[in-house]
Symmetry: C2
């Protein structure tokens, strides 16, 4: 096998969710469809490489000059900030169009296993931003996993004595979910938070 | 979401084995690891795009000037040709180093469902090559699926009256396989071909 092909397979196999076998399949597909698949992919990846950056305010990724399209959008409320774990979660929230404020994307969650301490949350930076923009409410939108909930508690504790309202996403029965199939934890949470 | 990112996600999600969710994950990983992941991937894909072609003799893919490294390798036997379905199968055979001849990579298998007729096999081209190089034996190394075996029969029939030996890979118990777990077809084939 040519070293060029071998290197490309190796690089692709290191992407999240892929392995050597799927990387081989992808590379063969790319070479067999040079014009239809490899060329547009190369151009498009090159565009992203040149244009897309991490926003200095909220850590969203976007193509922009100074700040990302959400931070520079004048129609969005500046006094409402939603904390998300990563950009995929930000995109998921944007797809629902339920939120019209701004974001604070974390660099990771608190995790003693991965050696991630409070510095990945950048809470001092967030608090400075809150003071500058008179933020009314911070919404914590983290996954209901152990790491997510630990981080949720830590953030709540950090803002406890500060003059800003802190809320978290509600726990309960997912829409379309059947009671019988729910785990006990969810059912308990839904029951406790009834209203 | 920036249109650049959206286009890249769309392009990646069309690769074999991927979908919109895995493509999103890959794109976020690439942007977050610009220097460590996206830049080397871009360079490597660009190299493949510029250097790698389909060999005019055997349809292998490789970086070459006139013919691929297998066809131009003087140490390999020219009178032995192995027919494989695609380049992944060629690489699999090369990894075992059990074969020291040359290849004929098919453009596909006979399949009435996919509308692929005998033209994808390029047997006339293969026969011309056999005559030019006094080929002794053609080894058909196709998968033991319906399409693979139909193609196997068709190729055998094509070369029936021609002066060349045609063989196929043996069917039987895979190495490490337990009798009790084998399907009936394999067990029957292994029993019939005992020796």
């Amino acid at each position: 096998m040519s070293p060029d092909i071998e290197t490309l397979i190796q690089k692709i196999s290191r992407l999240p969710g892929l392995g050597p076998r799927s990387a081989r399949r992808i590379v063969i597909h790319l070479i067999r469809n040079r014009e239809r698949s490899m060329e547009p992919l190369l151009t498009s990846m090159d565009n992203v490489y040149k244009n897309v950056k991490v926003c200095p305010i909220c850590s969203n990724i976007d193509a922009f000059l100074e700040t990302c399209s959400i931070c520079s959008n004048k129609k969005r409320r500046k006094d409402l900030i939603c904390i998300v774990e990563n950009v995929a979660d930000l995109w998921a929230l944007e797809r629902t169009s339920c939120f019209n404020g701004q974001y604070h994307v974390l660099k990771g969650l608190l995790s003693s296993l991965d050696g991630q301490g409070p510095e990945v949350l950048e809470l001092e930076k967030l608090w400075k931003r809150c003071e500058e923009n008179n933020v009314e409410e911070i919404i914590i939108a983290l996954s209901a996993t152990v790491e997510g909930q630990t981080t949720d508690h830590y953030i709540k504790n950090f803002f406890k004595d500060k003059n800003v309202k802190i809320t978290s996403l509600a726990h309960g029965i997912p829409i379309g979910g059947e009671l019988d199939y729910l785990d006990d934890g969810t059912l308990f949470a839904a029951f406790s938070a009834r209203g």
